[in-house]
Amino acid sequence: MNINTETTPEKIEIVEKSDQITFDRGMIRALMFRELLRLRGDTLRWIALLGQPIIFWLILGKVFGTEWKVNGVNYAQYFFAGTLMIVILFTSIGTTMSLIEDRSSGFFQGVLIAPGRRFSLVLGKVFGVATITLIQVGIVMFLAPYAGLSFNKLFSPFFIIFVVLNTITLTSMGFCVAWIVNSTQGYHSVMNVLFLPLWALSGAIYPLKGGIIEAINKFNPMYYGVIGLRAALEKNTPFQWDNFLYLLVLALLLLTLATFLCFRIRRTVHE
């Protein structure tokens, strides 16, 4: 195979490193804003994303909450961190599911042809989801006073850090699954057999103990995420550095895996 093209000589210069950073930044910004633009005006998505966790919290938290105490707090308060975790989970997996549509509809081809590097594609998607998650978490936080928690925790740096770390881990997980499965039916199946059980085991609903559960939770990002959110929200739950570091490492590992998978889109053609 031999293909020659002739164009202006100055055009073949490799762009400066600073230009490459401009392209990477542009790709991150484009994909991030795309998520926000798509969400705007999508009423059904808002209802689905916010309605389910709020209903969960109202039924489980408020019904059992007044009588039942877990770890020294009433259940409504205990379950609040779990509710936030499922908001983050639904937002992350709901948004990464659009990857399947993007790949089949060809939108991603238009992104891959752009000069930004592949890691920018993953970061753009993750930052977009993180922004949406923060907005949704902010809305759910209006319920915090009803659970005996302060709305102002929304502005605490620890709280924001844990929301963002949880978003990165779950979005990266969703990204990997969407990339591998590449069908919405398959993605829903993985969500039902992997994501939701991991959420249930994480201590979001009740502090579960036992050999197998504890072994699974060692690799369960949502376990560390729920502990982190609980520490950021509740006065009597102490902040644990080792928990934060585990979550950070998991977030970075999953982000790297998502980027690696994204690079694999470049298939090899035999000449």
Partner: protein, 300 residues
């Protein structure tokens, strides 16, 4: 082996066509030029300098329109173009002007705020091209840009492309299986099963054929073929459903042809001008419209 024996040069400012049926490797060639696929061998060079495999920055000089739609149907035309501006690092103060320019090019200035999903197929295609041009690339790659468009949209798209090419000195490489699209190119590479069978201007390729083509249908095509060759000494090809005869003055030949066969032997007879499809058939031995077995190297 997908691409083998593929060799062609594209001159600056020309419209270069890759003509071949579906599955002949056209999209793969464009994806390789764009750096979307890895090469296992061979070279792609620009101004005599070999391009390393897929430099992200080289893609800045390339605009590409894909065969499958790559617009976000949930966003407006203006939003789609604005996202593309971000992808190519176009500064904020230039964006509005460039978006307006491209909406004018696509004839969608008035409908810029409408969701792309509400636009017609032809409008979306023009918007796809506008999107590929917004960063002012020096090379535009078009992968079957007019597939699925009606005749009016086809002509309109080409009219706009021609105007743009003349004003910007852009090089266009287009893949197509439509002979009327190939005829609009400055030069065409005939692509057959991953190799170039000929690279020439459409006019030169057409010179290898006579002016007219007579299509004959009948019960026994092989017998008709033998009779035509024997009685008229004309070049003829037996296809799946018809016999094709090349000739200079078809209207004069038709009465002689009809009278040389018994009634009922010929079921239909059609006279038309020869096209690049006929050139393709003559060079490769198979029809341009026929789908070949799909090749490896898809992006998805």
């Amino acid at each position: 082996m997908v691409l083998n024996g593929l060799n062609f040069e594209v001159q600056r400012g020309e419209v270069f066509g890759l003509l071949g049926p579906n599955g002949s490797g056209k999209s793969t060639v464009l994806a390789l030029i764009a750096g979307l696929l890895n090469r296992q061998g061979g070279t792609i060079s620009l101004m005599g300098e070999e391009l390393p495999d897929a430099i992200p920055s080289f893609r800045q000089q390339i605009g590409m329109v894909f065969q499958s739609p790559s617009l976000d149907l949930k966003l407006s035309a203006r939003e789609n173009l604005s996202l593309t501006c971000s992808l190519y690092g176009i500064p904020g103060n230039e964006r509005r002007e460039r978006i307006d320019q491209q909406l004018d090019f696509a004839g969608l200035r008035e409908r810029g705020k409408e969701r792309v999903g509400k636009l017609s197929g032809g409008m979306r295609r023009r918007l796809e091209i506008a999107r590929a041009l917004i960063h002012e690339p020096s090379i535009l790659l078009l992968d079957e840009p007019t597939v699925g468009l009606d005749e009016a949209s086809f002509r309109d798209t080409w009219h706009r492309l021609e105007i743009f090419r003349k004003s910007r000195d852009i090089t266009i490489i287009i893949s197509t299986h439509r002979s009327e699209e190939g005829e609009r190119c400055s030069r065409v590479a005939i692509l057959d099963r991953g190799r170039t069978s000929a690279v020439e201007s459409p006019a030169m390729l057409m010179k290898t054929l006579s002016k007219d083509i007579i299509e004959i249908k009948g019960a026994d095509l092989q017998r008709i073929y033998e009779d035509v060759v024997k009685k008229f000494s004309l070049p003829a090809t037996v296809g799946e459903k018809e016999l094709l005869i090349e000739c200079e003055n078809g209207h004069e030949l038709i009465p002689r042809l009809v009278s040389s066969f018994s009634p009922g032997e010929l079921s239909s007879l059609n006279l038309r001008k020869s096209s690049l499809s006929d050139v393709f058939l003559k060079i490769t031995g198979h029809k341009l419209e026929r789908d070949l077995i799909p090749m490896n190297g898809n992006l998805q």
